[in-house]
């Protein structure tokens, strides 16, 4: 069985949740061998991360290099090529960093690459079976990967639950000397923080959230009218921002805002995992979508199969009636 490594994402000395999730994936692939963590970075933060990782990882490989103070994937890729043994299995979170790093890394390692994995289905010799999704989550697929020359596997954040494991005696091994000077033809300059919008959707208890099912910009007012009578704010999914119907500050999801409302009304939103990743605090989720197979219905509490362009005006009218009655 090839040795399994996890690439550890960390920020400000704090280990990302994905580290424990990747350890669970490693144990699904190989229950016998404790996995090895690889941590790259620089300074006191790096030591804090290495020491907090010891369980459930058997070994923590620490790579300290001033060039890795910011995780530029171009530099991390070179680093991993120098540090990893032949034919490794490397697990990486499928986030903006994993998307940047892993496909190219698999080429440099001459290893297989499997992206955005959400299930481990079994291993038979050099053949690892996994579960992925395609077509925006509308269907799933079993894929088989030949791991005989190693594999880089990007794992969907949140898809695996961390396991309770008994602490094992583990050790930090400094691999920094294997790396040497690093240069890249892509240089990190700065992080540009998102602009605050006119409405702070993270502070609302009720969100009327709209997706591609709204069809066009001229229909957004249907959601705004409903939000007004409900005392809610209008948020949205990525396609609405891409189409410039609403500002980026209204977007819920991994590349937008994380919200914690009490009620989330998903209107014409299919339910891509990147969108769901931005909905926290287990709100009461009501989904309206004309496609009965939309993935949003898998996670919603209540569902209505209907065209939002017809259903929202009905809701608004009814809500106005109810408020009118309540006022008397």
């Amino acid at each position: 069985m090839a040795r399994i490594f996890s690439y550890i994402v960390h920020r400000g000395g704090i280990v990302d949740d994905s580290a424990a999730e990747l350890a669970a994936v490693a144990r699904r692939i190989d229950p016998a061998g404790p996995p090895t963590a690889i941590v790259t970075g620089w300074g006191a933060d790096l030591d804090a991360v290495c020491n907090s990782l010891l369980s459930p990882y058997g070994e923590v490989w620490k790579v300290a290099n001033e060039s890795l103070a910011y995780p530029n994937a171009e530099l991390v890729r070179q680093t991993l090529v120098k540090v990893l043994p032949p034919n490794p299995i490397l697990l990486v979170p499928h986030d903006h960093f994993g998307i940047d790093l892993s496909a190219g890394l698999s080429i440099k390692l001459n290893a297989a690459f499997v992206s955005d994995v959400l299930g481990i289905d079994g291993i038979d010799g050099d053949s690892l079976r996994m579960v992925r999704q395609e077509f925006g989550g509308q269907v799933s697929a079993h894929v088989r990967c030949d791991i005989s020359s190693g594999a880089v596997i990007n794992v969907r954040p949140g898809a695996f639950k961390p396991e309770q494991v008994t602490p094992i005696s583990s050790v930090v091994i400094d691999k920094s000397s294997a790396v040497g000077p690093l240069t890249a033809r892509r240089r990190y300059l700065e992080t540009i923080v998102a602009e605050a919008g006119d409405v702070d959707i993270t502070r609302h208890n009720v969100l009327v959230s709209i997706g591609r099912g709204m069809q066009e910009k001229d229909k957004v007012f249907l959601a705004e009218e409903l939000a007004e009578v409900l005392g809610a704010a209008v948020s949205c999914s990525r396609p609405v921002v891409d189409a410039k119907w609403m500002e980026k500050s209204r977007q819920v999801g991994s590349s937008g805002k994380t919200v914690k409302p009490k009620v989330y009304l998903a209107c014409g939103i299919s339910g891509a995992f990147q969108h769901l990743a931005g909905i926290k605090g287990n709100p009461f989720l009501i989904a309206i979508n004309k496609n009965p197979k939309a993935p949003i219905f898998q996670v919603a509490d209540v569902g209505v199969v209907d065209d939002v362009l017809e259903f929202l005006p009905e809701l608004t009218n009814k809500a106005r009636e109810m408020r009118g009655v309540a006022a008397k």
Binding site: A73, F135, R144, A151, A232
Partner: protein, 262 residues
């Protein structure tokens, strides 16, 4: 600037409900509406805008079959200078690495300063751009949501968490994978497509590119999809099956019970 955009024709998920076929081994492909992969269309628009600012040419290329001519022609109508269809029976069953290998051989025949792909296609793998860059030994950036040309370099921002952006400087030649929303792709009507109906599309095969046959196709694929399936539904939503007015009333009661509709 010589710009290449690698693109794909895919089932349009905004137009189709994707379902399994009767045998359960594939999706039902009859009557699917196909279109340009959404992120690829943004990549083409970005290439056209860069060309219009700094000069040069935009070439669009796809690895596929004759059905894919329609999307190449659509991107010609948008304003691409040339279109290339790479097609060969040898390529059938290629995984992402195989497709990247074919594109690598094509890129090396040309003189491109900038290679763009969409960040991901219908399989959500987001892999070909990064693989292509590694094979060419070009620098790479993914999830790119703005590009500024600065001499022999580009300034590109990448989409990271929380709506923040990571600003990078990258040397040319390079490969970038383009995120949706980077621009507003121009509209292409039937009239525009008719106007480019007679523009020739170059057709290239494995031998034209010198593709190593052992590096592509089903034999070379390290990763293979075995089947499609629909997972057994989890608890799922309680579906409301009433008339529209009844459903609306029920939804409002539920919202009111949780503090909305004050």
């Amino acid at each position: 600037m010589e710009i290449l955009v690698c693109m794909r024709r895919v089932p349009d998920t905004s137009e189709n409900e994707i379902e399994l076929n009767v045998a359960g081994n594939d999706i039902e492909r009859d009557e699917l509406v196909y279109s340009v992969n959404e992120a690829d269309n943004y990549a083409v628009e970005e290439a056209l805008q860069i060309r219009d600012r700094v000069g040069g040419n935009v070439t669009v290329v796809t690895v596929g079959g004759e059905d894919d001519e329609e999307v190449l022609r659509r991107e010609l109508a948008m304003g691409a200078n040339q279109a290339v269809l790479i097609s060969d029976e040898e390529f059938s069953g290629s995984d992402g690495r195989g497709i990247a290998t074919i594109l690598k051989d094509f890129v090396q025949r040309g003189n491109y300063d900038l290679v763009l792909t969409g960040v991901q296609a219908d399989d959500g793998a987001a892999q070909v751009g990064g693989m292509l860059a590694a094979m060419l030994d070009y620098p790479f950036a993914s999830l790119v949501n703005s590009i500024t040309v600065d001499g022999e370099k580009l300034k590109v921002s990448r989409e990271i968490e929380g709506g923040n952006r990571e600003l990078n400087e990258i040397d040319l030649p390079c490969v970038l994978s383009i995120q949706t929303g980077i621009n507003e792709p121009r509209y292409v009507g039937m009239r525009g497509i008719r106007q480019v109906a007679s523009v020739p599309i170059s057709l290239l095969g494995a031998s034209d590119l010198g593709v190593e046959k052992t590096a592509v196709g089903e034999v070379a694929a390290k990763v293979r999809r075995l089947d499609y399936f629909v997972p057994a539904p989890s608890k799922g939503a309680e579906m409301l099956h009433g008339r529209r007015e009844e459903n609306a009333h029920k939804v409002l009661e539920l919202i009111a019970a949780r503090g909305g509709l004050k």
